[in-house]
Subunit: 327 residues, 2 copies
């Protein structure tokens, strides 16, 4: 299941806002299209955001001749969502590749490279993580770090897919992941399609579900991981990690190393706040009264001491985490 199709110079992405009830493809022809698709969450998930940004920016190289204008376009594109590090990184790679003048060919080639690398990364994350899961495991995941968040296979879901391919029976619990419901709408959708046994729970039910002993392992993706393993991921991850620790359940984070941020300190990471409307309406139906305010952060911060291991395409890492030399 690939949420992005590249045919010739045409880039199509699956509109994830409409899943699971409707499958509609949207064309990306420019940096502006990529900006809108990323900001409005037509596409989401750190690796996919990076790929879509790269293709969008590359397609705009056809229309822009001034390198300063092209660079500014790239910087603007980075503001579509402030937290996913892949967005910044992918834009920078395309800008570096294009050289001293906007080149569609060089930009496009770099976007293709990023796409292939993410495909390869997802597969390797799957292979590296697979041995951590046993036949009969019941695994909880939060949000969607599956094929729909990447270009195929997923990050958190990749080891589960490889385990299944190897004949292991893996059952999955998916949190619904309010407010955008990526667990209910996307994770459940792609795993049911792949023949997994999937059980949905409300985000409020994580504690009781673990207390009852239903969960053997947890795996989630990440939007940004810092040098010491601090994990910025979908709002609610901190809760899942906290309860996993309390009930001695292994808690794994899976990501391509493109999601590592070796420079920032945790205080420097901008936690995106999204529109209150995400809490006031569900599928167009109002669920909250007029006159109420909302605080709607999209991500939270999981401290490294709650993480059992971090899985990347390069291997499996255990605490204390140290991913780089730093700034």
């Amino acid at each position: 299941m690939r949420p992005i199709k590249v045919q010739g110079e045409e880039v199509l992405v699956l509109d994830q806002r409409l899943l699971p009830t409707r499958e509609k493809w949207v064309r990306i022809s420019s940096a502006e299209d990529a900006y809108t698709a990323i900001k409005t969450m037509i596409v989401r998930g750190a690796p996919l955001i990076g790929v879509v940004a790269a293709y969008g920016l590359a397609l705009s190289a056809k229309k822009v001749s001034d390198i300063e204008e092209y660079r500014k376009m790239g910087e603007w594109l980075k503001t579509a969502r402030p937290t996913a590090i892949n967005l910044m990184w992918a834009v920078d790679r395309v800008l570096r590749a294009t050289g001293s003048a906007p080149s569609f060919e060089r930009s496009w080639e770099e976007a293709n490279k990023i796409f292939s690398e993410e495909l390869e990364n997802a597969r390797k994350i799957g292979e590296n993580g697979e041995p951590l899961f046993e036949d009969g495991d019941v695994v909880l995941t939060h949000c969607n770090a599956g094929a729909l968040a990447t270009v195929d296979y997923g990050t958190a879901l990749a080891p589960l897919r490889v385990a299944k391919e190897k004949g292991k029976n893996i059952k999955v619990f998916a949190t619904e992941t309010r407010p955008v419901l990526q667990g209910a709408r996307l994770t459940a959708y792609e795993l049911v399609k792949d023949g997994f046994d999937v059980t949905l729970i409300a985000d409020t039910a994580v504690g009781l579900t673990m207390m009852k002993g239903y969960i053997k392992k947890v795996i989630v993706g990440a939007d940004r991981v810092l040098r010491d393993g601090t994990t910025i991921n979908k709002i609610g991850t901190f809760q899942v990690a906290t309860f996993a620790k309390r009930f001695n359940i292994p808690f794994y984070v899976a990501l391509p190393s493109s999601t590592l941020d070796l420079k920032s300190r945790v205080e420097e990471v901008v936690i995106e706040e999204r529109s209150p409307e995400e809490l006031f309406y569900i599928k167009g139906r109002r669920i909250a009264p007029r006159g109420v305010k909302a605080f709607n952060p999209a991500f939270d911060i999981t401290p490294p001491e709650l993480i059992t291991a971090i899985i990347t395409e390069k291997g499996v890492y255990y605490p204390p985490f140290n991913f780089g030399q730093g700034p």
Copy 2:
């Protein structure tokens, strides 16, 4: 704001499933009506459930002449929801009051007594809890333990209302409380009506909101509290309590002593599991794919070590909690 009106022998309850968008009153004329209203969550909240059950059973005394039949009706009514202890207790009181034959007068009088007691309890809980809150406090609450869960005033919200009456400025954060959204639909609704400054957050945002230092205190209600303070309350309470402990935020539980269960051990408490449909649909719109399963417990269990104090109409209790002689 009273969610129940008793005029002569007519009992009307506000249909809480339709709030905040519609205010519709439903008539309760029998134990069967009470059973349906409680089971389908037209009414909810432990104290209100008890009052509605008492009136419904009393009204059925008009139609039943055999005491055994009346008792069986009461036992059946208790099965409408298995966790709220007030339901069991209110039915038993009406059955005891009616004597050796079903008496409408005696049953009705007992129901009225329960109603008045709960009114009085809510006010006293408010007065007892009020000194725990300071001018300028920002208080998080989960689910709805307000006027709508009781007969007026509320349990968890009663101290906040009294504090406001005394001129203290109290801001409230309400979790939306999936799956039934009592926080978004009911708590926000009744507090905005009362002129509170209310901020809604997703259940997933509790951890980050507390990490950021936005919350000074937490107060919740309860569906059943055991002798040692173990609190059975709306699913997600355990999460709120766990994070409150982590971030050294006082965590209060408010309840009338009618919600105490001095007999049961925690293993004996039945945690109600509700229909998967609550996770598959919101306001009639499907949000999860076909083929997925769901685990939908309505309550969770908060261990006493996470609780700072328990507030009842009789006073404020601090750990170690010991509410009775036990079995």
